[in-house]
Symmetry: C2
Subunit: 352 residues, 2 copies
């Protein structure tokens, strides 16, 4: 591998001049010199050594991405989008799976320092775990996805940006849709352990129910998944919750699933018990994974504008890497309803 000195020698200039062209400081340079340097780079198939650049500048064009599990399609989609924008900015993505375990998170953050990575996008259950604050204090720039914490502003501004779907609105939208379509006995199916985004969705569920005088006909039905990060587990849980729903009396005619994976399991369990969807029970998910469109019937869902969210996340990350003094901000995105066929066609209610 040729280095900067080889290029300089061949072009019969100094390394400084080569460095200047590497850094686009060519304004003062004689075009002829520039051409000679360019040519000699080509001849030698020169690739600047980023490691060396980095040792000097303290910058790597890498960002970290910390997710619970890449096998979860929601996070796979997120990862793809992030990779897209990263590439557009000449960055590469260093991936880590945490399985929602604090020690994995912490180890990843430490490795980011070691590798000179300055910015990380984080998806984690509990952003208030101390290692995040520690990392921020040591200068790591972080953008959080989907765990907006502003609810407890008591603790002051968190040390990272937050980009989330408006989960209250998502829960509300899903529930509202069921009600519009004629459902009157509502259930919200969820995993027991509460993350911020989960409780927001539940909140939205009740908001919608109350708005229609259905507060006492709206219930949360929950169960515990073995491991709370995988789609497989969520789907299993959904299947288990189907039994609980069938036992409920009166039986719900509309169910909001906290996420699509759970909703899909729920539908499978319900159908297995002879329930027709949506004729007997309507089901709607939240989050929209590709799978939602592939099951029978295709499942309605509520989806975040992922592309836009990732644009903002990356923009914030890169600008705050440049200017760490910038205060973190929070961004909330409005979700959208995707109608497929898991919710009953219902009464074309005139007006309302």
């Amino acid at each position: 591998m040729a280095n900067i000195r080889d290029v300089a020698n061949r072009a019969e200039v100094s390394v400084s001049s080569v460095s200047n062209v590497l850094n686009n400081r060519t304004d003062q340079m004689r075009p002829e010199t520039l051409a000679r340097i360019r040519q000699s780079m080509l001849d030698l198939n020169y690739q600047p050594n980023r490691i060396a650049q980095q040792l000097k500048t303290g910058q790597t064009r890498m960002i970290g991405l910390l997710v619970p599990s890449i096998v979860n399609p929601s996070f796979a989609m997120l990862t793809r989008e992030i990779d897209r924008v990263a590439k557009a900015n000449q960055y590469r993505v260093l991936l880590g799976n945490t399985y929602r375990q604090a020690d994995e998170e912490q180890a990843f953050l430490e490795d980011m320092f070691a590798h000179g990575v300055k910015g990380v996008i984080v998806v984690a259950t509990a952003m208030d775990r101390p290692h995040f604050a520690d990392a921020a204090r040591q200068g790591l720039v972080m953008v959080n996805y989907d765990s907006l914490m502003s609810s407890d502003l008591s603790k002051g501004q968190p040390p990272f940006d937050s980009v989330s779907m408006d989960n209250v609105e998502a829960g509300r939208l899903a529930t509202e849709h069921l009600i519009q379509r004629g459902c009157r006995q509502l259930a919200f199916a969820t995993e027991s352990s509460l993350t911020i985004s989960r409780s927001h969705k539940i909140e939205g569920f009740f908001v919608a129910a109350k708005a229609h005088g259905l507060a006492d006909r709206a219930h949360v039905i929950e169960g515990t998944a073995e491991v709370a990060y995988g789609d497989a587990e969520m789907t299993e849980l959904g299947r288990a919750l189907a039994a609980k729903i069938l036992q409920a009396s009166p039986m719900p005619d509309g169910v909001v699933a906290i996420n699509d994976a759970l909703g899909i399991g729920l539908m499978a369990g319900l159908r297995q018990a002879g329930v027709r969807i949506p004729q007997d029970i309507s089901v709607i998910g939240i989050d929209n994974i590709p799978l939602a469109d592939l099951v029978q019937p295709p499942m309605s869902s509520v989806i975040p504008p992922l592309g836009e969210m990732v644009n903002i996340m990356m923009h914030r990350l890169l600008t705050r890497i440049e200017n760490p003094a910038l205060a973190p901000e929070e961004f909330l995105f409005t979700p959208r309803l995707i109608c497929r066929q898991s919710v009953i066609a219902g009464e074309p209610s005139p007006g309302e």
Copy 2:
């Protein structure tokens, strides 16, 4: 961030000594000195700068992982396994999506050099694209997943390891299963563009058919996906192929899908047309994505021993990084049948 000099000063020793403890060369060292150095590292919360280490040694504890699309669940599972083994070896994973485009592949490989990454695991359609050979020539260690090329040994040993499922066997196994269960009119549903692994699967399909005298009752049915890397596209293609299958005369009673995503789309399309699965037509996939277990009916499939394969891949990668002179090797893994409910129960054929 404290550096090696700070530690040395505080411990009142030279940087050399600190470097020695960093590199476990403490055998000759007075325990007392060692203790002082250790303590001073703790005091300063010292983290050695890998960038500097790397500039010196030329080693990063990062590996590259190049996949067509992380959104494809097969590759997501692969990624998780690789991350698992990488972590166990104190490595981190740099991820790249290629969408099967040569320029993305090439750009990624170049970035690996720039970032000092010495080893990459590659999933790609055409491993004979010249940038792979170029990269190998320049010292990049690569291990290929699932595109065994040994069929054309004419060109000599490829410059990278290959770890694959035995795709001929996979195709054979799937087909054999259909035949055992009583299917007599066979179809193999696939995307038109041929990769090595695809043609191997087709080969296995015909091997099994011939072995049972069904050669003239076995046909390949193909179509073109818009983009040939995504599961969504594969599923769509499967749906489209359902129509072709229904038009075929005589109509097949057993279909092997080249991969699970296509198989799932196929089942959806077939069912939509009123065909019962498996009573009217049996379907079996290849590759086993988690989704296969979630559709109705759960789809039978043929699966590679992913965990073992990844163990070998990582082992080869890391040892060849240590010792680049080592000749690349090829590894073939035998797939296994997973029976679910998309294949007819069939005649419990006595004997055979």
